[in-house]
């Protein structure tokens, strides 16, 4: 017990002396949260649209004006069609709308009127946004124009309701689940270097010549970084709630309990990397590839797990972040759901335990075995 305590104390001293652990624990999550909150935007994209109007009807001037009033669209009116095409090529505008000279005449006659929308197909996301912006602006204008009576009403009107996130605000969904990436990265980065460091600096040899047992080393590495990780987690959650106004509808106790299990599993991965790689460089590269990439790509934060090939859907189960994402989304936005909590916790606990057994087995007893 004394030895474990001494080890934990030593580790804490090293954490304090070496600012890099504290940077990982507190600066990194801040940075990542801001990237998730402001850098990644799945909602609206601002589109700059060129408009060339060949229809002299004054009503159409209203239509053009309403393009200028939309918050997602900025418009530029062209007289020269070729110039407009050139500006698409040079990316000055992302789309071009052509209003033919018979547009208002056909509407007035109750016939189908046509608009030509040209968009930059190299950016597929933008294409669909542009299309939906244009059609919603046009139909809104139509409702208020004098051609209203000439247009038949659609047979079905779908009323969407987005539960837990009425405004379909992507930030609400993204920011809490980004915790899964942040905490994986922190958990793994904090520990990935700490055993390889002992090898690289030759202190492992001195340690192994003393009374120290593998269990002391394992506990001595888990405990301090668990504490630092939990502080970092609390700090991130505080930021999410205060800075980004994401509602928290669950229970803080449950949030911290499941997060603790998640951190336990992440630290395990870091320690496995660290005891396998005997130099720090290898360990840090391995932790990025093993830790960060799957957490980002395969946890369901950005790409839904259900749309992956079946094999990868099963594979995601051995990734702690996947279970944590499932849990953290519902905990924040819909409140505690017992089934989610239990299944995520069981998975995380099993993975964490499995990892710590591997860490224990891999912890050196001698220099050669």
């Amino acid at each position: 017990m004394n030895i474990t305590l001494a080890f934990v104390k030593k580790e804490f001293l090293q954490i304090i002396r070496d600012p890099s652990s504290l940077i990982i624990a507190f600066v990194l999550p801040t940075l990542l949260l801001f990237i998730y909150a402001y850098g990644i935007n799945l909602d609206a994209v601002n589109v700059r649209l060129g408009i060339k109007n060949d229809d002299s009807n004054p009503e159409i001037a209203d239509l053009i004006k309403s393009f200028g009033q939309n918050r997602y669209v900025t418009s530029a009116v062209y007289n020269n069609q070729n110039q407009m095409y050139k500006d698409i090529v040079s990316s000055k505008i992302k789309g071009a709308l052509l209003i033919p000279d018979d547009f208002s005449a056909r509407l007035a006659a109750g016939k189908q009127a046509q608009l030509l929308l040209i968009a930059d197909g190299a950016e597929i996301n933008q294409v669909s946004y542009t299309q939906s912006y244009v059609s919603s602006i046009v139909s809104q204008w139509l409702q208020n124009s004098r051609f209203k009576s000439n247009v038949s009403q659609p047979a079905v009107n779908i009323q969407p309701r987005y539960w837990y996130n009425q405004n379909n605000n992507a930030r609400w969904a993204l920011v809490p689940s980004s915790l899964a990436v942040t905490m994986t990265l922190i958990g793994i980065l904090l520990t990935a270097l700490v055993i390889s460091r002992e090898w690289e600096r030759g202190t492992m040899e001195a340690l192994l010549s003393t009374n120290i047992k593998p269990i002391h080393i394992v506990l001595g590495k888990y405990i301090p970084y668990f504490i630092v990780g939990m502080l970092s987690l609390a700090f991130s959650i505080l930021m999410i709630i205060t800075l980004f106004d994401v509602p928290f509808r669950g229970s803080f106790w449950i949030l911290f309990l499941v997060s603790a299990l998640f951190l336990y599993a992440s630290l395990g991965i870091g320690l496995i990397i660290s005891s396998a790689a005997k130099n720090q460089f290898l360990a840090s590269i391995a932790s990025l590839i093993i830790g960060f990439l799957p957490a980002l790509m395969m946890s369901g934060i950005v790409f839904p797990v259900k749309s992956m090939p079946l094999f990868f859907q099963y594979f995601t189960h051995i990734l702690p972040p996947k279970h944590y994402v499932d849990f953290i989304r519902s905990e924040f936005l819909s409140g505690t759901v017992a089934v989610n909590v239990v299944s995520s916790s069981l998975f995380l606990l099993t993975l964490g335990f499995l990892f710590s057994v591997i860490v224990y087995k891999k912890t050196a007893r001698r220099l050669d075995a």
Binding site: I3, K10, Q14, G202, T203, E205, T210, I212, R365, R366
Partner: protein, 501 residues
Amino acid sequence: MTETTCIEIKNLTKTFSNGEVRAVDNLSLRLEKGQTVGIIGADGAGKTTLLRLICGLLQPDSGTISVCGLNPVTQKSLLNAKIGYMPQKFGLYEDLSVLDNLNFYAALKNVSPDFNQMLEFADLKRFQNRLAGKLSGGMKQKLGLICALMGMPELIVLDEPSVGVDPVSRRELLKMVKTTVQNQTTVLWSTAYMDEAHGFDTVVVVDRGKIIYQGKPQDLAADTLGFENKVIELMGGYAPKPSLVAQNYHLNGSGDGFAVEAVDLVKRYGDFYAVKNNTFHIKKGEIFGLLGPNGAGKSTSFKMMCGLARPTGGTARIMGIDIVKQASLARSHLGYMAQKFSLYANLSVRENLEFFAGAYGLKGKLADEAVSRMTEIFGFRRFLNDNAGDLPLGYKQRLSLACAVMHNPPVLFLDEPTSGVDVITRREFWNHLTSLAQKGVTILITTHFMDEAEFCDRISLFYKGKTIATGTPQELKRLAGAQSMEDAFVNLILQNGREIS
């Protein structure tokens, strides 16, 4: 095994790389309690492996070991409580303070954390809150030693504790061990310093994984030099051959005048003067030794003189060219061997040689010639495709020298080129150096081996950033009123107020 036996080893074998390398080869050894045992041998002879096997840090392939009546393989944790081990890298946490390190090891060893006496004795008390990484080489060694000596171990195992340590600090290390050990304590001390080994109760000479001599050092020879010659003889002997390096050296621009001049060199970090004022003039073809305790500012002077660090004041001239104004031109006349191994550890020997040939501007056929010349001269043939980082220390140093002399520079700067290198390799090294000097190459060298200092034409004794004495070895000995160079060194340093910094 009797009551008085400390270590008994029978037919011990340990191999690495799937049996390709036999580090310890069917070795048997018996050591009595209460002795101080010097372990000496060539680089790669298996000394470190043997010590690690004794501490239970490695598992033997075959054979038996008994240490303090325990088996290191099966009873490692019982045994560890009885051993104080100091590995070659000392095992200190450089980002923890002196006191933190001591507290940590005291807790691991279940010893009461009372080190005042030891700290006073090692003169580390004043530095107890300093980070271990910020200590000078000699002080790190002392701190590592205190950690190893904690808790009165029955067996103290020290793996080259005095590598790269100046004579004053080496005497202090020895004194620390001598005052700590009791009658029954056994000390295993591996060393490259023959004078050190000559003073021990027993020496064990290891060669190619086997023990080729065990007995009292005085039985081999009464004095240090005789002892060194005997050890070299045991290890296969060394007959000085004409130096191929010197024979193949193409030197241009010899003649009279100074090859290297340092003029009022000053280096200041903040308000700390690493070098206060260094002035000397080295004639062409001279071997000039820069001696001094760890942390005196030798390496800093070196770095300024090769243009690797910018002087705060003053300048240096290499072959008359100002190093501050025309750094790269001055450097082209220079071969530099750094204190730390500074070649590419994960490139092969051949690739390192080829790279440096290229870096010195040798192209095509000239480069090929230079590489094969170096390969022949230094005997790299069998290592050509091995990674430089895996070479035995002696060969690493040979490779560093090869890379430094490849472009036939008229001036060589060698910073502790023989630290940790075995006696035979050192003799070979000095054979090259003296032959090169005869040919007109100017050599500036630092060393902690006082026997090597005797080979220098002139010596500058450097201390606390200042030159405290300059002259031939004889002049310095006369000045200090000492018989040996080592005594002269210690006396002169003490006269100038020894204070560890």
